[in-house]
């Protein structure tokens, strides 16, 4: 298990996701799995900075990575007021299709095997099972 603390700054997106990729690479053989995890982690990090911490640089994004034998679990925790993860509007509905925001959570739900946000801890947990 590894823990990281990042500032609420979108300039850290690549740096943070590279840490995750480096950590999962020995176990995640399928390049598609790595791309899915990188994508969803980056979307989650961006949400934590934008919607969780509202760009407040005093607040941190705390990340915990747990590697299992056949999967990886990642907690991405903000220090803000939380957000309604479950009831985000569906961006694939006709009325939302031309909107320029609101796809991050949708992509996380689509490409991860598990995705849950805990409004008490302000942590999003994502999990991906590795292809053999």
């Amino acid at each position: 298990m590894s823990k990281y603390v990042f500032p609420s700054d979108l300039n850290y997106v690549n740096h943070a996701s590279q840490k995750i990729v480096d950590e999962i690479s020995p176990q995640a053989i399928d390049s598609g799995d790595i791309i899915d995890i990188k994508l969803c982690f980056e979307e989650a990090f961006i949400n934590a900075v934008k919607h969780g911490n509202c760009f407040n640089r005093e607040l941190k994004v705390n990340v915990e990575v747990v590697l299992y034998e056949n999967s990886v679990g990642i907690f991405i925790c903000d220090e803000g007021d939380g957000f309604d993860f479950e009831n985000c509007p569906d961006p694939t509905k006709e009325e939302n299709l031309e909107k320029t925001n609101g796809r991050g959570v949708f992509l996380i739900k689509k490409f991860m095997d598990e995705a849950k946000y805990d409004n008490n801890t302000k942590c999003l947990f994502i999990r991906k099972y590795f292809k053999k």
């Binding site: 598609g32 320029t100 925001n101």
Partner: protein, 110 residues
Amino acid sequence: MKIRQSDINGIKVLDVEGDVNMDNSQELRAVLKQLVKDGVKKLLVDLSGSNYIDSSCLATFIEMRKKMNEIDGNIYISSVSGKVKGIFEVSKVDTLFKIFSSKKEALEQI
């Protein structure tokens, strides 16, 4: 990310190479905005050199589609494959654009 511009048969072609994500999608957005400002009416973005995009890249394309529509122009996309194609399809953003399988096909049909 690298963006290479060329003009082919009256079509402005942008070859995008590398990841397009939150870190650099603003750069792509700025280039596209300038082209719209310059009055470019036919714009083709070829993604054969990119195998990673995120939601900020999709947002950039959607915003530019709107701006192109405002000047009666069109933005086309070509050569999406693998995960990039999957992201376009799962989000249904592919339904907003004419997407060609290759740059060659796009240049023949636009």
